[in-house]
Symmetry: C2
Subunit: 414 residues, 2 copies
């Protein structure tokens, strides 16, 4: 294992544009290592016009992505906007193996078709953040399978057991006597070999990926390549502002959720979390965000900033029209209000019992079911809860509401 690491040429000028690119790279990131190498790569790219290669490895097992997953994608997009090439790397090789130890039943091997389908679903969703024109899609089986058994041994000769044991979870499991299978040492090497095969300049990942990203760096040096830099992004907090965003915790926003839901969920976050989301999710520049923050600190209603954020995100994953409609819908509901467009129903025979009104307006399947809804406190007339199941409505027009979402504008005639 060689200690001689080829470092990028430092002789290119560090211009203002390079400094700007560095600031964009750094924004919201947890770690960018080694920063001097990254500056040198940015400067060379600026001087030569040769785009840098930015790698993101993806596990094609979880095709439904939420806002938390888009943090890293957002950073990729910012780097694409600087002119660099993004590699969307599908880890199909190991996914087709699954967990061979058989201890993890939730990770069965995937078929070629499942991987292809998951990858397409993932890419379709990721395309809402990435610029498809500057995205290269690759599958790591392309170079992993041809390695063969011998290539795998050669690869494994490039890294020591001691360095592998420096990975926190390995060290802890070893100390605790929790089994580590030998193949778990091979996965970081395979991931690192992806960087060799792709001649990656930068690899992105969550903070939990730091060790694996550094293996890629070391292996590139072993194979005589200029080593990649690594950039880790923090894990995004969920809507509660405390736990990491996760589907199983229920504190997430899926990027395929309806515009109304997405908008409303974003409006529900705390003011503090809002600024965190601005940093990690918004495409607005840091300067714009600073101005907005100053305004809020100077007395502007923080809700304005929250609406701007929700509008940006909802527009990204739907479109401007859906986002505007979601905003209007949210406002109405916020006032305990009624949506713009609700069914209008005209009924004869006033005064009518409330049960009958609900049934005829199709807000309840039957009069008896309607009375149960009244008993449960779920029925409102013009915004007031109906507590009397004997209520009769006189002629006139009323907004009748069942639960939170079902409305009718009822006109009663004699």
């Amino acid at each position: 294992m060689s200690d001689a690491v080829a470092t990028p040429n430092l002789n290119y000028p560090v211009t203002d544009r390079v400094r700007d690119a560095l600031a964009i790279s750094r924004r919201g990131c947890e770690e960018l290592l080694p920063e001097t190498d990254w500056i040198a790569k940015l400067a060379r790219s600026e001087a030569t016009g040769i785009a840098l290669r930015v790698k993101l490895g993806l596990d094609p097992t979880a095709p439904d992505i939420h806002l938390g997953h888009t943090v890293v994608l957002g950073k990729m997009r910012q780097l694409q906007d600087l002119g660099h090439t993004v590699i969307f790397l599908i880890g199909d090789f190991t996914s087709m193996i699954g967990d061979p130890s058989g201890r993890n039943n939730t990770r069965p091997p995937l078929t070629r078709e499942q991987i292809e389908s998951n990858a397409q679903t993932y890419y379709r969703q990721a395309s809402l953040v990435l610029d498809p024109a500057r995205t290269e899609i690759r599958y790591n089986s392309e170079w992993s399978d041809p390695l063969g058994a011998r290539g795998m041994i050669e690869l494994a000769s490039r890294y020591t057991v001691a360095r592998m044991m420096e990975r926190n979870d390995f060290a802890e499991r070893f100390r605790a006597g929790t089994p580590i299978s030998v193949h778990e040492f091979l996965y970081p090497l395979m991931q690192g070999y992806d960087s060799v095969a792709l001649k990656s300049d930068l690899e992105l990942g969550g903070t939990d990926q730091k060790f694996n990203l550094l293996v890629g760096r070391a292996l590139q040096a072993e194979y005589g390549q200029e080593p990649q830099c690594i950039l880790t992004m923090p894990l995004l907090e969920g809507l509660d502002g405390i736990e990491k965003m996760s589907k199983s915790k229920g504190n997430y926003i899926g990027i395929t959720e309806p515009a109304n839901t997405m908008f409303a969920k974003l409006l529900s976050i705390s003011d503090t979390l809002m600024w965190r989301y601005y940093t990690l999710l918004s495409f607005r520049s840091e300067a714009e965000i600073a101005v907005l923050k100053a305004e809020v600190e100077g007395g502007r209603n923080p809700k304005d900033a929250k609406v701007m954020l929700a509008t940006e995100i909802t527009t990204r994953f739907h479109d401007a029209r859906a986002s505007e409609a979601a905003a209007r819908d949210f406002e109405l509901r916020a006032r305990g209000g009624v949506p713009d467009e609700i069914d209008a129903v005209s009924l004869a025979g006033a005064p009518l019992a409330i049960g009958s009104v609900l049934k005829q307006a199709r807000l309840a399947p039957s009069s008896s079911e309607a009375l149960r809804l009244v008993d449960g406190g779920g029925v409102r007339v013009d915004g007031s809860v109906v507590s009397d199941r004997g209520l009769r409505l006189a002629a006139g027009t009323y907004v009748v509401q069942v639960g939170k979402r079902r409305f009718a504008r009822v006109t009663l005639k004699p």
Copy 2:
């Protein structure tokens, strides 16, 4: 990793023949594990007539073998004589990789042709001990290459890092901070996978191989096979009786050395070492050896036993005639004597100067060279060293000797 190990059926009767086979298996061995499994396998083979499969892995890098290497081969031969099948396994797969870490320059990768040639040389030598009719020759690339990168990962999933670290040298190197490359964990797994591929019942090796042999046992259980037993043989002491036999220590007997040399070297060992060699190298039964030992303890000359051993070994690697000639040659030299058949030379002109005699008898290229030999103390007449370069020999017959090996029977006439 499953803990459920299929053990051999214990329901076959343990007959006297089985007990004899067990005694033969045990003879001279360091460890035979687990003995109850081996008894069960022997009993089943005895009852069913199905031969057991006995594996020996060989590194095709060192084709010149000495008596130390034949200890394990001798055990194989004893098992063949019991009717079992021996697998002479050439480890060509890893030899074609060499030491990919590049730290060990003495282990360059071998070509297919080198391996083939080394394996043939090795097998030709081993055939002097093994019974070729009951020997299966295999190359492990047959099943190792088809594993591919995925198969290698699957294999590595069957064993834990913690168990690998139980190997003494790994544990010590890890503690001492001496690098262990990850691929060094793969080699024992590949060797173990050989046992799976061969459905081995017993693997033999030196005591230094114990860990690797046990990996094979564990992997067979992982792959749902009845696991092999393991049998380790001690490393043979060299002629000095202290250090292990080794070419680099000069205390070895190569099995292709001339019969005279082999016989003489065997006669040079101590009486204690002789009994060790009987146990580990002789094909005589333990009963025969016990009788011989009792005779020696009762007063018989131990040299008789040593001659019998040297005769057996020399006959094995040469033939009976060469062995007898070597024995005669040894006796003559032991008496400071002269070999049976030496050149007879008749010279006229006695008395003759010693230089002239040596030259004319072709024991020296010139008279001046002959005198240098006299000055060096390397010339004997009838067994006495000639110290006077002015010596003149009168008429008569003399045995003239130069160095240890060159003789002439010279008859001088006036």
